[in-house]
Amino acid sequence: MMSKSDGDICFGNPTELHGTKAQIPNVATEKNTFTRLDDEDKQRVPLIHGYSKLRSSTEQMHPAPYEARQPLVQSEGPSSGGPGAKAPRHQASLIRSFSVEREAQDSNSNYPDEPWRITEEQREYYVNQFRSLQPDPSSFISGSVAKNFFTKSKLSIPELSYIWELSDADCDGALTLPEFCAAFHLIVARKNGYPLPESLPPTLQPDYLQAAFPKPKWECALFDSYSESMPASQQARDSNRMEKATIKDAAADFPAPTQATTGDDSQALKSTADEALPKDMSKDPAIPKDSSSLKARPRSRSYSSTSIEEAMKRGEDPPTPPPRPQKTHSRASSLDLNKVFQPSVPATKSGLLPPPPALPPRPCASQSEQALDAESHPQLSRAPSQAAESSPTKKDTHAQPPLKPIRRKFRTENQATENQEPSATVGGPSSAATAKAHPTVQKQSSKQKKAIQTAIRKNKEANAVLARLNSELQQQLKEVHQERIALENQLEQLRPVTVL
């Protein structure tokens, strides 16, 4: 192989020589052959260097053919008319080859090896991933960490081993940031079907990567925004939502390829930051939509490796965020109500803790407080009241601190009932009045329907209230029963002593 390429170069060199010889007369229009030769020599050197950049392995061969050809050139020198005559014939092809040569040189300096060139977005993505593994961008990732990470890409182990070999330039078993970017890029390319190179391409060399991309500036910026968003996401719900929006905006700058991955991102953020707030779910679909629309723009520019990055993203998600504490109590005490309550009790009630015994009379007496409480907790009551109006069974689906919402639910239910009672009562006479005033069948039926619906709602709510009371009383009964059993046991323990 090496000999062949040498041969090519050997053949190529004479044409280059001719090219230079041909061009010099055009440029200089000198007749002195020796000066021409000197110029050629001078011009030859940069050609050699330029060409040798492309084929570094054949550098050693260059002086030899040139030396061999010097006598040739010199012999041709006197016959200046010959080259001059040949010049126009060769010129076109030689200029073409020369321009190709120059293009190659330029391309060499510009590195248009498309598969091996890291774009800005990819670079940011890789840096982001690096940071997820190792917060300090100037430090390195250990071998085992990197191994686990790259294994997620689902390439075969020998291939991964080879990629590591290529990218770990100093063979220290750890990856610095440029090494990591190179390795990642190789994996991405391999996933997209590009064969792995024999040696590390120049665009992926660590020194090139460090030089090409000014790291410190935007790394710090990204790092700051990241660190800002992280603690911010720990705050209360409302601010949580706000911060989520900012996180997602910041994330929008990252080259997240598809909506699915951003969905994963947002979910990951949610799972880590949220404490199971299903209320946010109604608002969250809005936020991902906004962020996805933001991401739609960079997506058009992104590299074609969307599928691999998707796969990588999915693989790199933190291992299944803890399942959202579902409709059941999140901060509940260790008491497992499912076991406490008999199966006969409807399952919908299982999510409730029994309020303190003082509570049962409250629904009757606390109607005066409802208005105040409802005003003080407009948000929470809104949702429960909405849920109450929709269907009472769904009230249990709130994963809020059980005691408070129960109380509020009571109040709000009662408030709702209260609201609906006057409305119903208003509706009743109004319906009657309207029925009498306007004896049209349709209006009567509609009013009656409304009345029936309100009555149904009232009954359902009352039903729910009574069911809750029932459950609470049953709970109390069980506790008392257990106390009784304990006392009986104590009594029996004491008895044998007296008997014996």
Binding site: F150, S161, W164, E165
Partner: protein, 139 residues
């Protein structure tokens, strides 16, 4: 001038063995295998001696009519065995040592790769190329 290079694991199975494909490789494999006994002998003879560079290199294990076999053992009891052609001008000891040193360095590079499990066959291309240079250099 190695005609055959072999890396043997601690448990005496080959991790890497490569010979110049001019002759039957089986002969070389056999020579390497028999040389392991000599290696073990030398290791046990050392006993509790200090382990330094010199003792990693075992020197000529045994000469045959055509070939000489050299040995080298690492601290983790991984053995390198090299078979050289006797007909070539006798290689100096230093050259053999330097070749073993290169082998050892390449081997550690292979070990540094986290995707390499110790005990697997060595499939690293860098290692291959290094061995190739050694063998070609010799030939």
């Amino acid at each position: 001038m190695a005609v055959c290079v072999a890396v043997i694991a601690k448990e005496n199975y080959p991790l890497y063995i490569r010979s110049v494909p001019t002759e039957s490789e089986l002969k070389f494999h056999y020579m390497v295998h028999t040389s392991l006994d000599v290696v073990d002998e030398k290791i046990s003879a050392m006993g509790k001696a200090l382990v330094d560079q010199r003792e990693l290199y075992l020197g000529l294990l045994y000469p045959t009519e055509d070939y000489k076999v050299y040995g080298y053992v690492t601290n983790s009891k991984v053995k390198f065995v090299m078979v050289v052609d006797s007909s070539n001008t006798a290689l100096r000891d230093n050259e053999i040592r330097s070749m073993f040193r290169k082998l050892h360095n390449s081997y550690t590079d292979v070990m540094c790769n986290p995707f390499y499990n110790p005990g697997d066959r060595i499939q690293s291309r860098a290692f291959d190329s290094m061995v190739t240079t050694m063998m070609i250099q010799v030939c």
